[in-house]
């Protein structure tokens, strides 16, 4: 770096006071003029700017840049060589080990190629380019007044020639013609989806209970989400447990199982009966302390999947809405405004069954919910 020579360092070059003591006193800060108070605006300039290059230094820099370019070349060749020659061995890349290996080799060589080239060019610019800074005028962007006036005239002339100013009937009917044409694309979007109707008001539990009741049963069995095994009361007798359930037959009988599950998914919790609030006991929708709530958070619909045994709190991991499982899922904390809807449960032949749909719409609130 040879750029210090043109920054005059005032402190050292100041003439000394005649007969005065030498400049520095031990223990005082170093001459301040050497300290830069501000970063200079244009130090990122090419090193050789405006100077004759020192030919020897330039040769050195040239060699460094050239070696970096050769390195980049080698890296790219290695990339291609690895891809063609090695990555496809034993029937190609399959599975996690080989994916990891290929990621390392392809990514590593690619990184090297790009960075070596980037560093090379940077050194080239800074050490070898002899361009000098240039000064250019910043022109006023606006046109002068005469041009503006003349264009305003041109514009009005054109408008007059077209007759649009003279013939308001044309102007108005043209606007009339254009307006519905602008609306047409919006109408075209109507078939993007069905109207909401009452879809958000009920879940598959309702339909499943109806079907079960038609067969003379008390309600529909609860099956474990994932395994689809019906749940016995005795299977879920220990207090403190939590499990996710869906109505029996949801996968087989519904048209869009995933959509139905997304609404009907329910958590089953075993709370100690003596902990239940009088309100809940009065409802009588539990089976010996086993209660069922919608798993879809009433805030924005994440699955409220966490249950804390000691406090009997249900927590939604997305935005931390917290519900009290012993008090009809009343909101204890967080952004949710409504309790999780409760599903009426009963026991039939030792199995847990639901005897009706959720009494209110599940999930996030919406305008028509009321």
């Amino acid at each position: 770096m040879s750029d210090n020579k043109d920054h005059s360092t005032g402190g050292e070059q100041q003439p000394r006071e005649e007969g005065g003591a030498p400049g520095r006193v031990v223990g005082t800060p170093s001459p301040a003029a050497e300290r830069r108070l501000l970063p200079e605006g244009d130090t990122a300039a090419p090193e050789g700017a405006g100077e004759e290059l020192d030919e020897q230094a330039a040769k050195r820099a040239e060699r460094v840049v050239a070696s970096l370019f050769v390195l980049a070349f080698a890296a790219s060749v290695a990339f291609i060589a690895y891809y063609i020659g090695w990555s496809g061995r034993d029937g190609g890349m399959h599975g996690i080990e080989r994916a990891r290996e290929s990621n390392l080799w392809l990514g590593g060589t690619m990184t090297l190629a790009f960075l070596a080239m980037a560093v090379g060019i940077t050194i080239w610019v800074r050490r070898l380019m002899t361009s000098q800074p240039v000064v250019q005028e910043r022109h006023e962007l606006r046109a002068d007044d005469a041009t503006r006036e003349s264009f305003a005239k041109t514009f009005l002339e054109g408008a007059q020639e077209s007759g649009i100013t003279k013939r308001p009937l044309l102007r108005r009917t043209l606007l009339l013609a254009a307006a519905p044409l602008g609306l047409a694309p919006l109408v075209l979007l109507r078939d993007l989806g069905p109207l909401p109707e009452k879809r958000l008001r009920h879940t598959y539990w309702g339909e499943a209970v109806r079907r079960a009741k038609a067969q003379g049963k008390k309600g529909v069995r609860l099956v474990v989400d994932g395994t689809n095994k019906p749940l016995k009361v005795s299977d879920f007798a220990t207090p403190g447990g939590m499990i996710t359930v869906v109505p029996e037959g949801i996968e087989e009988h519904s048209e869009h199982p995933l959509n139905e599950i997304a609404k009907a998914v329910t958590i089953l919790i075993n709370v100690p009966p003596d902990k239940m609030s009088p309100r809940m006991r009065a409802r009588g929708w539990d089976v010996n302390g086993i209660v069922a709530y919608s798993k879809i958070c009433t805030h924005v619909g994440c699955p409220a999947a966490l249950y804390e045994q000691t406090t009997h709190h249900i927590l939604c991991p997305c935005h931390q809405s917290t519900f009290d499982a012993t008090d009809a899922a009343k909101v204890v904390f967080g952004p949710a405004a409504r309790p999780l809807p409760q599903l009426p449960l009963a026991e039939e032949d030792g199995y847990l069954v639901a005897t009706g749909d959720f009494p209110e719409p599940i999930g996030p609130s919406f305008w028509e919910r009321g």
Binding site: H7, S8, Q14, V25, T28, S30, A32, A33, G41, A44, Y83, M93, H94, G95, I96, S102, L106, G107, T111, F114, L115, M117, A118, I121, T122, V125, P133, V134, V135, Q136, E137, R138, L141, L192, G193, P194, L195, P196, R199, H256, L258, N259, A262, K263, V265, H299, G301, C302, P303, L306, P317, C318, H319, Q320, P335, G363, F366, W367, R369, G370
Partner: protein
């Protein structure tokens, strides 16, 4: 520049002439090849955004060659054996295929994701640079507005992008999108049904992912590309702003010529950007969708976090109290509606309106090409830091569960902390920032008035010791003196009782009050031509004056 220009090689001359005969392009090249580009490190932030966008286009195109935007359910049998026999959508299965069977596929996926994160981060940093230096001022308001639109589009593009693989995390993001849509008054449920083509997640025909795909790979990138082009052309035409220095002025731009210096540097910078995203993708894992598993509406993983640029919405949703209004058979979910619209509305709307607001308040209708140092516009800098604080707090609140876990704080307490801090933080940040700016202005004034400490102790004939000050270097002086001192506005009512222009009516009153606020405690920094020796008396006077000013 050499005196005897050697003849250009035939191949170059030939093709230049070919183009020129047909397009007259040599005139353009002649005018622009040596265009001066001012230098400053902060000018590279926008370039990072530009180049990560190019990387996104390249890697994204690669991914589309294998990705199947389909919600059709398949049973996976593939090389990621842990998920064999699991039901999933074709989209998720094809994303697994890209990761584990297409050579370089995982790398491209990771580069794509890293570049997206970098794109948004670079835009943010670039916008902060532009804001804090006042580079958005006339004549560059249009480019500022384009930038805000680009940032917004980038958020939507990112959300749709990470929703495409249909893994558990992306499905959770879509579920939240659905919940937020439903909260929109009057048309919310219609918007929900129309976006998903029915009910969450599959609709009636599995339309969601194909729709998001088209928006993500065609419509939004097309608009972004068009706006980026406009952004660059406007920048080229208006010439880049410059940092204040001895060499820059409103009339002239000083810098290195586009050809060859800037061209080479920016080319190298593209490779740096690509190299760094490639390095990140080689050594760090991002969005490992195979670990999340396919989307299952009943499942969720704890610590579900969106990409960082959506964190501010997430945070706002988390700290909002549970307000909801139900009346006349309708429900208004303020607990969702407010956090989804208000914070970003304030930040983006405020940013969009700011250049016009500032011009109105300051009455400054001139064009500015040399930017302002942040300290020299304390109100702007204060408001900017307040906005950053506001955004940053919401962003942190989006990870309050992680904070609670890492710092062993009770979860609900973190929520309450953010509920308070979101109001107190920005105000505090404004006050502190403004004071710091004024302090720096005072220091600048002192440097110009007295020079800088030289470390030389001088003894006077009376035996008094004092430190000699030396004048500040010229280039530093030029930077410090780039400050434009506040000029007092004309009094609201002149001698004959006639109100000054722009002060009439309530709006005029407001404007003149705001104008006074803008320049209220400005510290004049000017070269009064005396420096060097340290004058005790003068120093005392000055300190007294400052004291008076503070007590006012």
């Amino acid at each position: 520049m050499s005196q005897t220009a050697p003849a250009a090689p035939k191949a170059v001359e030939g093709s230049l002439n070919f183009l020129d005969d047909r397009l007259g392009s040599t005139n353009f090249f002649k005018r622009n090849a040596r265009k001066a580009f001012p230098d400053h490190w902060s000018f590279m932030l926008g370039e990072i955004a530009l180049y990560s966008f190019v990387i996104l286009l390249l890697t994204g195109t690669f991914l589309t060659l294998w990705f199947k935007p389909s919600m059709h359910e398949v049973i996976y049998e593939g090389s990621y054996t842990k998920l064999n026999g699991v039901k999933m959508s074709e989209a998720y299965a094809s994303a697994l295929h890209i990761s584990f069977d297409v050579r370089g596929g995982l790398l491209m996926r990771q580069i794509h994701h890293w570049a997206a994160v970098l794109f948004m981060a670079a835009i943010m940093a670039h916008m902060l640079r532009v804001f804090f230096t006042g580079a958005y001022r006339k004549p560059r308001e249009l480019n500022w507005l384009i930038g805000i639109v680009l940032f917004t589009l980038g958020m939507v593009e990112g959300l749709f992008g990470y929703s495409l693989p249909d893994d558990l995390l992306s499905g959770t993001g879509l579920r939240i999108t659905q919940g937020v849509l439903e909260a929109v008054p009057l048309v919310g449920t219609y918007g929900y049904m129309f976006l998903f083509g029915g009910e969450f997640p599959e609709g009636n025909h599995g339309d969601l992912i194909p729709r998001l795909f088209t928006l993500h790979v065609l419509l939004i990138p097309g608009v972004i590309l068009a706006l980026v082009t406009a952004h660059m052309m406007i920048m080229w035409h208006q010439k880049h702003t410059a940092m204040p220095s001895r060499n820059q002025s409103e009339k002239q731009v000083y810098g290195y010529p586009f050809y060859p210096v800037f061209m080479a540097k920016t080319g190298a910078f593209f490779m740096f950007t690509f190299g760094v995203t490639a390095l990140l993708s080689t050594v760090t894992q991002i969005n490992p969708i195979w670990l999340y598993g396919p989307y299952d509406p009943g499942a969720i993983s704890a610590g579900s976090q969106p990409d960082f640029y959506m964190g501010v919405l997430e945070g706002a949703l988390r700290i909002m109290p549970n307000w909801e209004i139900t009346a006349w058979g309708h429900t208004l979910s303020l607990n969702v509606l407010i956090p989804a619209t208000l914070p970003l509305g304030i930040v983006f709307g405020g940013a969009a309106a700011w250049p016009f607001l500032e011009r109105w308040v300051t009455g400054d209708n001139r064009s500015h090409h040399v930017v302002e140092r942040p300290r020299n516009a304390p109100v702007r800098t204060g408001v900017g830091v307040a906005a950053v604080t506001f955004y940053g707090l919401l962003w942190l609140a989006g990870a309050n569960d992680v904070l609670a876990d890492k710092f062993h704080v009770e979860l609900f307490k973190t929520t309450w902390f953010f509920r308070v801090a979101i109001f107190a933080g920005p105000i505090l940040a404004y006050i502190v920032t403004k004071r710091i700016c004024l302090g720096l202005q005072r220091r600048d004034a002192a440097v110009i008035d007295h020079g800088v400490e030289s470390g030389i102790i001088v003894m006077s004939p009376e035996g008094k010791f004092s430190e000699r000050h030396v004048p500040v270097r010229e280039e530093e002086k030029a930077v410090i003196l780039s400050k434009e001192n506040a000029k007092p506005e004309a009094p609201a009512v002149d001698g004959s009782g006639i109100p000054a222009p722009g002060t009439k009516g309530p709006m005029g009153f407001l404007r003149s009050r705001l104008n006074r606020g803008w320049t209220l405690d400005d510290i004049p920094v000017e070269d009064r031509g005396h420096h060097g020796e340290h004058h005790e008396v003068e120093e005392g006077e000055r300190a007294g004056a400052e004291q008076k000013e503070l007590s006012r």
